[in-house]
Amino acid sequence: MDLLTHLPALQVVVPMLSAPLIVLLQPRGLAWAGATAVAVLSFAIAVALAIAVLDGQTIEYAMGGWPAPYGIALSVDAFSALVLLVITGAAAAALLAAKPSIDQQIEVERQPLFYSAWLLVLSGLVGIVVSADAFNIFVFMEISSLASYILIAGGPNRRALPAVFKYLMMGTIGATFYLIGVGLIYMMTGTLNLADMEARIGDVTDINPILVAAGFITIGLALKAAVFPLHVWVPNAYTHAPHMVTVFLAACATKVALYVLIRFDYMVFQGKLDDHEIQFAMFVMPLAILGILIASAVAMFEGHIKRLLASSSIAQIGYILLGVSFVSMAGLSASAMHIFNHALAKGGLFLAVACLAYRYRDLRLNQLGGASARMPWTCAAFVVCGLSLIGVPGTAGFISKWMLIGAALETGPWGWGLVAIILISSLMAVVYIWRIVEALYFQAPIEGDAPMSEAPVQLLLVTGLVALMNIYFGLFPHVPLELANSAAALLLEGSR
């Protein structure tokens, strides 16, 4: 058996089958080691897949040898490979760093269950990405969502419970909308396979159910992706989740929903429905712009470091959507690139927050005084990732902003207006990141604080590594860039 050909299946199966086994690893520390090994293995699989599709080809895989329209089909192309790298990379990095933080936040006896849920989230997210079938996407979405409710509520913070309830409500509504849409399309085309759907949707005579389906699917996925104004579940969920969970989910969870939104729309609807491109752009672009501006403004006034970064995430999703709404090669590759770069920046920021949280109980900005003297490495990593989020040249964040600006200029006379919006929001990012930096570096420590030292080495090493990657990919972005360009080309090809 050639292992390479089965990589798409292994990508999902490995974490999924390991999840129940992790529960059995009761001795202290073993569950963590097992889960980390699985996540790292998943990352290795994703790297292998990315190398295989780097030249723009698509790997199709039929489960059990059943051909596509009947059996379960998986497919991996440059776009999915890029998102797979983000998901598995975030999971692996977060787990590698997680042990000290998780030991502090979650009781030992519940840890195997926690790590098992973590792997379920991982397998659900990668499952969504590799599925070539609309219904399987729904199934994996439910797996990842249910497991992520457990992760978020798993910490010691009881405020996580109402937060997760809100998330569950919104998530369920989103998933239901998506399912309704898929049902309508199935009714009209008789297929669930995306490629098949694309082929048959042109033959449908009564187009109204398809239009309704497109509406349901877009709204449902926008809810899952926390697109403004459907983002209300995000700040609380991110803030009250255990710190390492925030790292994992903030880096990739909403982006996976965006991935499905983009893939579904470009592959199935665009080019098949009259004027769909314009409707799509006119629907998405205002939301993206509002999201960028309003969420950035909110972040400027947040007093809690995690809530602030969560608000910033909503703005960053706006950037990704803005690129998508251009319906152009440049716009799509900028968006794909931003998925990757924002995961690096935000993942690094939340890792640094996890380091801070290991010593500071209260993460409000006015409580963080003196952090730079006590935790110099953590703060340095935070600054580097913060600069990347702002989009300072030399960091990863600059690359995608530069591409996005280039794509905006291609859109014609309105382009300069969009450039202005991107630049204004970058300045807003300067403000909210700098509020944190000032709190860390120039605020006097609270009186009577216990003396503190740097975060544990394990946590710190991963944080530093991610910070360095933000610089590395700012100077040498070739690999993700190539994937993003292939992804954009494939998506546009699919929309014809």
């Binding site: 600069l387 300072v392 690359i399 530069w402 280039g406 450039v419 630049l423 000032e438 700012g474 972005p477």
Partner: protein
């Protein structure tokens, strides 16, 4: 070492030095100071080692990484950048000597952070000087802003942090809000941002847009402190004096005017810009800044703030000289960067020396101080005369060239501005000199003599340089004449 590696090593040395300083600071202050000395000496060795090659017309360049098609990190050394790098690295050594005396004399806190950030700022300065295209320049320009922020906010109290916020806010928002769009615009019409002799925009841009793009560049480069984006410079005076001396009289502000000059010469091209009627406003705007800043300087009571406004005026000299768009004036712009650097660093050194010795910061406190601190005040006098442009000081040389360029272009506005500002400079420096030397101390204040030896040594050295440049400016002029060879 090939010139190509020398470029990279020159940028790397202060980076490594910053690390070494940070580590050495944990062991002992003397070791840390030794690390600074070794770093700045080796930086001089590498940077000045490139000079002979440049004098012979060599243009070493090296590409580090092609970030995206058309967008690369690349370095290319040409006369303007060479001069700027040689100036900054040379004065860093003198400034380090001064800093040690000043910081110890004042018993400042966080000295390790101070010296490490200083090295980092120098690395960014060399990067700006050697940048081969707009993107690389922008990268190091932003790094320079960020690395100097901790130096400005050094004291750490509420008022200082507020000023540092103005510093960072103005510099970052102008660079992201105006400079970056200008760069994007340039790349989108020219397809490149490489600094090329004769410019890259000729024939690609028409008249009203030329003036607009020029405006985006000039006001986006906030470090040049052209009014109305000058507010950060007086705000930055809260920094310890060595920072004001090297960074806010030489490295940071010169990075601003250097960038503008470089863009005028190598992006627009002076002939192209001279033909464009919509670029004429720059001379007027610079003239306005020169006169207004000089008038504001007249009303200042604090020594460092007076020097800050004088710097704003002098920076616009460079911009105006570059905007005259004639070969002699471009040479004058480059020469004025050097001349002003020697004079102004001397003045700041003197202001710092006065503070260390007597804690005096206001002008009216200086009555009769010349008798207590003869060396310092002699240097201060030389610096002042250079600001006015009296021979035999450096300031005379550059004014000569700028005036010659102004006549070459028949630009009477520039001629008038130079004359008027010379009068104004004399009006705010001469009364101080009179007070210092010829009036008597009012009441018996604190008894004090000269500042620490290292401080006095440094300021005497720069004062000597100010005088020496009047006589030995040939190499600089030869080097900079290469920039405009065959033009105009």
């Amino acid at each position: 070492m090939t010139p190509e590696t020398a470029i990279l090593v020159a940028i790397g040395i202060p980076l490594v030095g910053a690390l070494a300083i940070a580590l050495a600071g944990r062991i002992s202050p003397n070791l840390r100071e030794a690390a600074t000395a070794v770093t700045s000496l080796s930086l001089i060795w590498v940077v000045w080692g490139l000079l002979p090659l440049l004098m012979d017309g060599g243009r070493p360049s090296v590409e580090v990484s092609q970030v995206m098609p058309g967008l690369s990190i690349a370095f290319a050394v040409e006369p303007l950048g060479m001069l700027f790098a040689a100036l900054a690295s040379g004065l860093w050594l003198i400034n380090s000597v001064y800093s040690v005396g000043y910081m110890r004399g004042n018993k400042e806190q966080n000295q390790t952070r101070f010296f490490a950030c200083f090295a980092l700022a120098l690395s960014a300065t060399i990067g700006v000087a050697f940048a081969g295209n707009l993107f690389t320049l922008f990268l190091f320009y932003e790094l320079l802003t960020l690395s100097t922020y901790p130096l400005v906010a050094h004291k750490g109290d509420a008022a200082t942090v507020r000023s540092a916020r103005i510093y960072l806010g103005v510099l970052l928002s102008t660079s992201i809000g105006l400079f970056l769009p200008a760069i994007i615009w340039t790349y989108s019409i020219a397809g490149t941002g490489d600094f090329t002799t004769g410019g890259i925009l000729a024939g690609k841009l028409n008249d009203p847009e030329i003036g607009l793009l020029l405006g985006l560049f000039v006001f986006g480069i906030g470090k040049a402190a052209m009014m109305p984006v000058h507010k950060w410079l007086p705000a930055a005076m809260v920094a310890p004096t060595p920072v004001s001396a090297l960074l806010h009289a030489v490295a940071v502000v010169k990075a601003g005017v250097f960038t503008i000059t470089k863009i005028i010469v190598y992006i627009f091209g002076i002939d192209f810009l001279f033909e464009a009627s919509s670029s004429q406003w720059l001379v007027y705007a610079a003239a306005f800044t020169i006169i207004t800043a000089s008038l504001v300087a007249l009303r200042q009571t604090n020594i460092k703030r007076l020097l800050a406004y004088s710097t704003i005026a002098q920076l616009s000299y460079v911009i105006m000289a570059a905007a005259i768009l004639k070969p002699l004036a471009e040479v004058g712009a480059a020469v004025h960067m050097v001349a002003h650097a020697f004079g102004k660093i001397t003045l700041f050194f003197a202001a710092g020396a006065i503070y260390v010795a007597s804690k005096k910061t206001e002008i009216h406190q200086l009555r009769g101080i010349g008798r207590r601190m003869p060396w310092t005040m002699a240097a201060f006098t030389i610096g002042s005369l250079s600001m006015i442009g009296v021979p035999p000081t450096a300031g005379f040389v550059s004014k000569w060239y700028i005036l010659a360029g102004a006549f070459q272009a028949n630009n009477l506005v520039a001629v008038f501005t130079i004359i008027a500002s010379t009068v104004l400079n004399a009006a705010y420096f001469l009364p101080i000199l009179y007070m210092v030397w010829f009036e008597r101390e009012k009441e018996a204040g604190k008894e004090h003599g000269e500042a620490p030896f290292l401080v006095v040594l440094a300021l005497c050295l720069t004062a000597l340089l100010t005088l020496a440049f009047f006589l030995f400016n040939g190499p600089v002029i030869d080097l900079e004449s290469q920039v405009v060879k065959g033009l105009g």
